[in-house]
């Protein structure tokens, strides 16, 4: 079986834990519970004719008081950078974290998940900003841990990218 480590990175309270919970356990709760340290989960899936075990490292959200330690990232094959569409500054944080990981991990596959798309009417991230990011090479998917929209697709996409298939 092929084993791949994926790190969930982003600002605090953007929904990293909820996305993993939705993907692994098909569950969601509205109650915000901050992650301290790292939550490690596992999910097996079939990709083509191969069985893949995803090791999901859900890291604490970065804020002004605690920076993500790059040692946690070691061994990662892919990154899911998560931002909250209702908080524009979380997009900046995702970009900053991606830059930080390039130094320690090199250029590994990554996706930007614009989470909370169930709250689309409250989004404050300008569409132009996301267009600009997409033009500069970012692959962006819209997700909602609450409704499940785009969640499975995101994990399947990053798996495909890690397996060397960039078209999925």
């Amino acid at each position: 079986m092929i084993q791949k480590k994926i790190c969930m990175l982003g600002s605090f309270a953007v929904g990293k834990t909820s996305l993993v919970r939705r993907f692994v356990h098909s569950m969601f709760t509205d109650k915000y519970l901050t992650t301290v340290g790292v939550k490690i989960d596992n999910k097996k899936l079939v990709y083509g004719d191969k069985e893949v075990s995803l090791l999901l490292w859900d890291l604490y959200g970065e804020d002004e008081f605690q920076r993500v330690q790059t040692s946690y990232l070691r061994g990662s094959s892919g990154l899911l950078l998560v931002a909250d569409g209702t908080r524009p500054e979380t997009v900046d944080k995702a970009i900053e974290l991606r830059d930080k990981t390039v130094t320690s991990l090199g250029n590994i596959p990554y996706l930007l998940l614009m989470n909370k798309c169930d709250l689309a009417e409250q989004w404050e991230v300008a569409p132009g900003r996301l267009r600009q990011l997409a033009q500069s090479g970012w692959r962006i998917l819209h997700t909602s841990a609450k409704t499940g929209e785009g969640v499975e697709q995101s994990f399947l996409s990053i798996t495909a990218m890690m397996m060397g298939d960039a078209t999925k």
């Binding site: 605090f12 915000y32 901050t34 301290v36 340290g37 939550k39 490690i40 946690y72 061994g75």
Partner: protein, 358 residues
């Protein structure tokens, strides 16, 4: 640090062992488990197999063995079933094996969780308040209010300022023949196109009234003089509106234009409202003047009063002068027009204009 008495060291080790339940794994240079010991059962490690790769037995150590660094600490790893551990990875001095030490971190984790939860909830609340305030007052105004460096007396004072009015042309007939959804979608395309440049050029948004925006320059600190800031803002507004129109044309939506009036002079500025809810406001003749000029500006035109124009004269920008009879003004006034997005100004009405180069 002075040496601790042996009795104390023994005691501290006992406390540490009881609380942290250390277990260890010794891993060879190829990542295989050489030996293990300590409180393995406490960490659920009852089926470890020596000679087998550790990563196959403990998947969370994938990528960490053998360790290229002398020491790596992974704090608060929650590996499922409620366990929470600190993992210390140490390379031995001979570099032949790596030691993995597992420590129970539940107690520290619970403590951190409470503190972090409170901190993050507070940060979310503060972020939200800042976003709401920024959206209503502009970032620089909010920052000054928070820092206590608001540059005017709340009770009111007279200041020289430049007033800018920007208005969407023919919006009322458009709104009458459109659905409410279309009206608000359109406003939410054009109004941000006007607001962003105001804040970027140190202006204060005084009010948004339907399809019009009023801004004040010269209150917030800036390097440039207020008429210059206002004209730069107006030019940026017209460019943004042209971008919106390109987008709307592509969508098959009707395009709208804006006209802008600018006047400079003394105005009364202060805060109006109750203690709980109040906002910045500028009042006076030059506010009306700018509003009237905006009423006369043609689509895509910036129309200045004489004082704004005088203060801009050294910049060498070419304006077209014309005399206007404005409502509420007993005598005709000189006004100076500019179409910044056109290479040549459009022909003026013969009876009331003459070419003017400043």
């Amino acid at each position: 640090m002075s040496t601790l008495p042996e009795r104390m060291i023994r005691y501290l080790v006992e406390v540490l062992l009881a609380e942290r339940q250390p277990a260890f794994l010794e891993v060879d240079a190829t990542g295989r488990l050489l030996s293990s010991g300590g409180a393995l059962a406490h960490h659920g490690l009852t089926e470890l197999q020596h000679g087998i790769h550790v990563e196959e037995q403990l998947s969370y150590l994938m990528g960490f063995l053998p360790s290229p660094e002398e020491r790596v600490v992974l704090s608060n790893l929650q590996t499922g079933s409620g366990a929470c551990i600190d993992v210390h990875i140490l390379r031995d001095s001979q570099e032949t094996s790596t030691w993995v030490i597992l420590l129970d971190a539940r107690s520290e984790h619970e403590h951190k969780q409470v503190m972090q939860q409170k901190g993050n909830e507070l940060s979310l609340k503060t972020e939200k308040q800042a976003r709401v305030l920024n959206a209503h007052l502009g970032k620089s105004v909010v920052q000054m209010l928070l820092e206590g460096s608001w540059p005017i007396r709340s009770s009111g004072e007279r200041r020289n300022a430049t007033i800018l009015f920007s208005d969407i042309r023919d919006f009322t007939p458009f709104s009458e023949r459109s659905t409410p959804e279309s009206v608000f979608r359109t406003l939410n395309q054009y109004i941000p196109a006007m607001l962003d440049p105001i804040q970027e050029h140190s202006g204060i948004v005084d009010k948004i009234a339907g399809d019009a925006v009023m801004a004040v320059f010269g209150i917030l600190n800036a390097v440039d003089a207020s008429p210059k800031l206002a004209v730069h803002t107006a030019t940026a507004i017209l460019r943004n509106v042209a971008d919106v129109n390109r987008l709307r044309t592509a969508e098959g939506q009707p395009c709208l234009e804006v006209g802008i009036g600018i006047a400079t002079g003394p105005v009364a500025v202060g805060l109006i409202g109750t203690f709980e809810r109040r906002g910045f406001s500028a009042i006076g003749h030059h506010v009306n003047f700018a509003s009237r000029l905006q009423g006369q500006a043609r689509p895509g035109e910036i129309l200045l009063d004489e004082e704004s124009h005088r203060l801009l004269e050294q910049d060498g920008v070419r304006f077209n002068e014309r005399m206007l009879q404005l409502k509420g003004f007993s005598n005709p006034v000189r006004a100076f027009g500019l179409f910044p997005l056109l290479s040549d100004a459009p022909p003026e009405s013969e009876s009331r204009t003459k070419s003017h180069r400043s």
